[in-house]
Amino acid sequence: MTDDTVTVFERSRAGRRAFVAPETDVPEVPVEELLPGDAIRERPAELPEISEPELVRHYTTLSSKNFHLDEGFYPLGSCTMKHNPKLHERVAALPGHARLHPLQEPEYAQGALELMWNLQVALGEIAGLPHVSLQPSAGSHGELAGLLLTRAYHEDRGEQRTKVLTPDTAHGTNPATVTMAGYEVVKVGTADDGGVDLDDLREKAGDDVACLMLTNPNTLGLFDRNIEEIARIVHDAGATLYYDGANLNAVMGIARPGDMGFDIVHFNLHKTFTQPHGGGGPGAGPIACSDRIEPFLPVPQVVQRGDSFDFDFDRPKSIGKLRGFQGNFGVFVRSYAYICSLGRDGLKDVSEIAVLNANYLKALLAQPGIEEYLPIAFDRTCMHEFVVSGSGAKDQLGIKTLDIAKRMLDHDVHPPTVYFPLLVDEALMIEPTETETKERLDHFAEVIRSILEEAKEDPEVARTAPHTTPVRRLDEAGAAKRPVVRWRPEADNPGDPERAQKAPASGSGAM
């Protein structure tokens, strides 16, 4: 009953209900007369039976076991966990948006099309690339779109290219996307200054290369000073230069991917443009591109005709559709509201303060008492984020980056991204974002200092952390070895207090 790990299925009691059906106002024809016998479901899906009060309590109680952005500092590197303005939820919920059917004719959806158009124009201006498709569902979907566009572009020119270059600092979605797009991944090395190794790039940028996927600033939080040279090399090879926009928060209003020579960009509206993450989505990954790529953009495209707006499906060279309908419109509404709120000045302010906060926090961590244990990887002026290495703490204190992260959980701050990028040993990737105050940054540095000092006394505290969370360290290996990915009655006896004692093996999904 009060075991807070009981699933909603275990709370089920036959006969309870939260739902009451609207009255049946049409003839009650037996189902058997309306459906072929062998198509009729025999046993109903075993969904929970629960009253509204208990349903609300179940999920309210679950929610309280999540750490969240409105609770505290969330410096998850590469994820841009900035404040989510509440206005955005209000405007997204307006019935004119929330209850608008995706197949409503454009004539009756002019407000929505104008919003999409305005957002496209704004994103194009921010990226410095004029043509935008809002369709991709997330960043990785945008990456896929980018490579499909690249393929279409080369095929249109009669070229067959088989390789895509990604730096060894690249985010995992980059190589994964390359494979899904039917290309072969070729890694490019990183130079001592944290940028792309130009010699390695020159060597690998042959005429079989379709694209170089880059994020700039890169996942080390460093701006690649050689970006123009990189663009030249890539373009000389006839390849496209793709901009992974996950780190765009560093350069809005300051420098534009298009001006750096990128051909295609994706935006993570759920990062830079503050769509709430929702515990793993939804997001949106619009793409912007140059004139030569434009013919291949997905359908439909929003177009302006006089002072009204329409969808253009008639795009013979288009790669087609990446998903249903027009994309995650509800996300567009929020990001558009954000851009309207901040405007040209506010967006630049965002990047300036994001970079200020990152460099300030970096300076705090470069203090004695911390830097010996968490040396900064590639110590240069960083952009919106930076990476430190837990190597020192591991060698001198015997606590791993994981231990430091877990101990942070007891201090009510969210740990940074850990063990990424891969080329930094015991990496901690820290992105404070612009919406955090100096007090929050000071406090975070103090937390790290106190964890390190505590570890000098007794490393065991960190090694066994967390100690104050709803659960402590979990057996992930066991979970993967004998996966239990759904609840089953035979495994979990509803309300049985002993259930917590049972081995996870029980209820194994083997069937």
Binding site: L55, E71, A98, Q104, N328, V331, R344, W487
Partner: protein, 449 residues
């Protein structure tokens, strides 16, 4: 300083001092002058919350939503009633604002929700394994194609013309990437997938056959027969399904489908002009390590307390990189939460009550309209009819505040006068009768607009 940033002038001074630079400018010195923008962005200045609200409210007012008209448009997304508790729960920052649960100890809420969601989807589809969500329906179909490729190493995909046009399009777009050809199987004269044609279309190089239940026209397909035909040569049978229809229809998993995927919007998600919603992805046990996306699993903590984690991560991009089973990272967790809350709200009996109400209203609507049916067989929530002089009828109906359905012409030129009419629990008998009076067979030719 904007209302979302906190750095005061004093903060700025102290922070620059601590960093050891004179100005914000200096922090950007690594950016070559030549790629600097060097001007303001060509965008309007910032505005107050009130002004932004008024602007977006004015835009919203220029859309005709399901709040403004009685709509019978479906075709993949449906105007179901979303219970209030979903707004309340999804509005809680605890669910709304966290990232993907990389730190399970402080993410048990989200992880347990995923585990419950997977259980509910598994129950609906009759398949033992479901993931925590993919983007939405059509891209879920494409993801199924990619799994089939990884599983079979074959190069052909066979898809019924009853599959949602957007699913067929997305499948083709993605397949062009992972290098597969898509072959289409026609519908028979009853608007159902032609079983023989399917059997004929699959060959030894076919990785998967795709059908949809009910299909795009609302037809209840004979999934069992299609599975037999489709799997003849060892291809996987992928069934796209409407989760609400599975209230009354036999789960594809019980009829031989290897994978069942679909659009989750009908489960407690808003229309939102097409998104965000979620896609679900369920599979037979043998594909558990080839699934795309996040999967939550049950385990124990060091004290033996039950807990949940993201599991089987060696499938995923952040671990496996180029060898990952899919590139998906951010998915649709919040929408999936709405889905499982909705299903728990309906409950075991409620889902069936809802499904039967829809089923009965759908058949009542088809009879009451009395128009020539494109798919005369059994339908669950949607059906297609031929409407003489459709454009005028549309005009007249919309003028009367009723959106009568989705014209098939764009997606099915063969049904140039076809109209796809969808019914939900929100479309009452009275609505249906009004629809009939406007577009039904008995309406006198050229009735006044």
């Amino acid at each position: 300083m904007s209302r979302y940033t906190g750095a005061t002038q004093e903060d700025l001074r102290e922070m620059l001092g601590a960093i050891g630079v004179e100005s914000l400018e200096e922090l950007f010195k690594d950016i070559p002058e030549s790629v600097r923008l060097g001007r303001e962005l060509d965008l309007p200045p910032g505005r107050s919350e009130q002004e932004v609200y008024e602007h977006l409210a004015a835009l919203a007012a220029r859309n005709r939503s399901a709040e403004d008209e009685i709509t019978f448009v479906g075709a993949g997304m449906y105007d179901h009633y979303v219970p209030s508790l979903i707004d309340t729960l999804l509005g809680r920052s605890e669910f709304l604002t966290p990232y993907t649960p990389y730190q399970p100890e402080i993410s048990q809420g989200g992880l347990q929700v995923m585990f419950e969601f997977q259980t509910a989807i598994s129950e609906l589809t009759g398949l033992p394994v479901a993931n925590a969500s993919v983007y939405e329906g059509p891209s879920a179909v494409a993801a199924a194609g990619y799994l089939a490729k990884l599983e079979t190493r074959r190069t052909r995909l066979v898809a019924s013309r009853g599959l949602h046009p957007h699913s067929r399009a997305a499948l083709a777009t993605h397949a062009a990437g992972y290098g597969m050809e898509v072959v289409e199987v026609p519908l028979d004269e009853d608007g159902a997938t032609d079983v023989e044609a399917l059997a004929a279309a699959v060959d030894d190089d076919t990785a998967a056959a795709f059908v949809q239940q009910p299909n795009f026209l609302g037809t209840v397909e004979d999934v069992g027969a299609l599975a037999e035909a489709g799997k003849r040569t060892g291809a996987l049978l992928v069934a796209a399904a409407d989760p609400i229809a599975l209230s009354v229809l036999k789960p594809p998993g019980e009829l031989g489908a290897d994978l069942c995927v679909g659009e989750g919007q009908p489960l407690g998600n808003r229309l939102d002009f097409g998104g965000p919603s979620f896609g679900f992805f369920a599979a037979d046990q043998r594909f558990i390590r080839k699934m795309p996306g996040r999967i939550a699993g049950e385990t124990r903590d060091v004290d033996g307390k039950r807990g949940f984690v993201l599991t089987l991560q060696t499938r995923e991009q952040h671990i496996r990189r180029e060898k990952a089973t899919h590139n998906i990272c951010t998915a649709q967790a919040l929408n999936a939460l709405a889905g499982v809350v909705y299903l728990s709200w309906l409950g075991k009996r409620g889902l069936v009550e809802l499904g039967e109400l829809m089923l009965r209203r759908t058949h009542y609507a088809r009879e009451t309209l009395g128009l020539e049916a494109i798919n005369p067989g059994p339908v669950v929530r949607e059906f297609a009819v031929r409407v003489p002089d459709l454009p005028d009828v549309m005009q007249r109906s919309r003028a009367a505040g009723i959106n009568p359905g989705y014209p098939l012409a764009r997606d099915y030129p063969e049904f140039s006068d076809g109209l796809l009419i969808a019914v939900t629990e929100r479309r009452t008998k009275e609505h249906i009768d009004r629809l009939a009076s406007l577009v039904g067979a008995q309406v006198p030719e050229g009735a006044p607009a």
